[in-house]
Amino acid sequence: MDDDAEIIAEFLVESHENLDQLDRDLVALEQDPGSQERLASVFRTIHTIKGTSGFLGFDRLEALTHVGEHLLSRLRDGELTLDGALAGLLLRMVDTVRALLAVIESTGTDAAADGEAVAAVVAELERALARGTAAVTEPAAVATESGDRRADVPEAAEPQRGIMDSTVRVDVDLLDDLVQLVGELVLTRNQILQRTDGQADADLSRAAQRLDLVASELQESIMQTRMQPIGQVWAKMPRIVRDLANQLGRVVQLDMEGHETELDRSLLEALKGPLTHLVRNALDHGIEDPARRAALGKPPTGRLSLRARHQSGQVVVEIADDGAGIDPARIADAAVARGIVSPEQVARMDGKEIMQLVFRPGFSTAAAVTNVSGRGVGMDVVRTDIERIGGSVDLSSQVGVGTTCRVRIPLTLAIIPALVVGDGGERYAIPQANLVELVRVEAEQLASSVERLAGATVLRLRGHLLPLVSLSEALGGPQHPLLRGDRAGRDALTVVVVQSDGVRFGLCVEEVHDTQEIVVKPIGRQLKGLATYAGATIMGDGRVALILDVQGLAATTGVDETPAEEEPETPVAVADLESLLVLEVAAGRRATLPLRAISRLEEFDPALVERSGDVEVVQYRDGILPLVRLAPAIGLADASAPAGRLCVVVHEGAGGRVGIVIDRVLDVVETAVVRSDVGRRAGVLGSAIVEDRVTDLVDLAAVVAR
């Protein structure tokens, strides 16, 4: 319903603007009846309103604009000539359209409009069509339903702001400038926070905090102004699918989910072309015609589904069909026939590599060039377009069952959270979207966890082998000292596990600094050819830091896609998998929290714990962090040793930050949780077997509420 309301609101804004233009056009046409350009413009406007009103189910508006469009097409084709009477009639139609739009704006439908008045104009338009000209009629019958409309609107209703008053159209360049400026502000804020950190001047600290808050909110609001729902692109899809299906003789049911998923407008704009292309492909190459489907025992109506959702800071769009699927053998033949690869190369490829061939320039399986697809500009263009906006595409397909194309794109390009790491005295930012986890390998465990296989370094991580890449080596410098066997002054190897599409590997870095919001800035054309960098940013101290491109790093260091068995294939299984933080509480009891609920792990000196009322608190990041001791909160004796550091996991929820005091972190695991009610009590949702041990599932909401 909200989706519809949004679409209607957009339709109203657009139509109001178009109608104003239409008035001007019609009046100008009367002076110069021969202007094809003006006629075409009028025709387009009415045609658009007709199309959308049909789609939205505004029958009266559709009936009216339909006959209006018909008359206009006769005018455009020169079968009729515009005279004063016809122009008057058309202007009355415009007025009636406007009146209907007003009714739609106040009631959400055109059913409440004065049907007779509309019918009168429709009848007159029809008469004009039949007669070839309009009779000079009394202009009194202008169909404004203002009287009726007032009756339809509840009396008590406040005079609402009309859609034209509550929204403003803003020049996109201005929005871009604002983003640019807010980026500068964020950087300045970072610099000021860094300098005021640890300053004794309380007023200055307060002002800095306020600046921090305002800058963050401003940034969010400005980014919001650029966010638009993907529904804007999808609004056009039913029509495209309908036309294509007719053209290709398919019967297709289109399902769309996630209209409200928002992303930056520049990305939305860039996404239009590739998405349309993928939909075309699905109809042309995917879904079979009804006869063939029936012969295959499939329902004659093919299904095409478009789904959009937010996932870990990215927008994921899936285009799935239940068509013929992609046959690797056919792909291979076509690729060989087009000279993209040699038969010998194909022979050495596995199914997944063969699928990747569709992304090669010049690839097409279409036997003939049709109107729809098969012109040789294909998936390579889709991939290039999507990669240009920092996204990725991948295909999965099963012969006879269907094809799913998954497009991942960032929410925005301008300001992103990133992990800042240090290497060779310089800092590098890794986008949070690529981050999986941080792993610390103690020096004494190096020999048992890190292996060299045929010159490549791998890490044993929870039963899998993770390719390791040394950042300094990837950047053309020496191998990481610990990987060279030089342990001087180093007690642990820090591995940042990163992922981009199917590639997952561990990046060995010298230092990990912190996570911060960075403003992505373009780098000069001299450096565009370097795949290892996605851009650059400016740090709090004013120095430039490079942003690493995980995909590019993988490519330059020869890390390939992770074999499929390491990644669960079906998306269903992925959804069930959860990353858990496994903890020890009350001296030896195991409990777990969902990792996504945890923003940081901290350690505090117990001497820093103060009390506010009966709550334990610590001063943390210029604020007060309330502490909850987990053991008593989940009904266990608080047996943790008082000595040593206080281990705290920080949860950031709607109610602010809360620190949860635990004994220690045991592990981070990604696992499918099968919850059992055994052990269910206040603060505990139940238990599950995690890493072969029974583990309490902490009810975070209940614990935090204490």
């Binding site: 980026g183 500068e184 950087l187 060779g424 310089e426 950047l475 053309g476 410098g477 800035k521 373009p522 780098i523 000069g524 054309r525 001299q526 450096l527 565009k528 050819g529 370097l530 795949a531 290892t532 960098y533 650059a536 400016i538 004013g542 120095r543 430039v544 830091a545 490079l546 330059t556």
Partner: protein, 153 residues
Amino acid sequence: MSVPAAAQVCTFEVGDLRFAIAVESVQEVLRAQAMTPVPRAPEAVRGLINLRGQIVTALDLRRRLRLGEGPEPEMNVIVRSRGEAGSLLVDRIGDVADTGGLELQPVPSNLPVAVREVTHGVLTLPDAILLVLDPDRAVDVSARPHHTNGVTS
């Protein structure tokens, strides 16, 4: 072929060579800035500098022209080229010279190719010869994708 020279040029030096760029192409001149090196970048790229929030690539003109190693360049000449700012690192900044009446002469053909390819022409003054740089070509070095280290080029 001789062309009238730009009315005013900004002059600077690298080693014992004197260069000039039309003042319209020069945005500003700065002292040495904090610089972030770019691993795997072309040899001539010394690093990135923060110019009031804009990230600018700094090119060592000496390396760009393959003039051999020399002292650390001190000055940034920020030039605008195709909508982007780029910095040329040079040893010393000279004056702004009025060259309106002079004719731009072809670059002598025995100059090294690396110098000739970024130079429009020369201006011969009584006491000096100015090599007039083409700002677009001077800041244009392209990165090769799998360039493994910055030692050779």
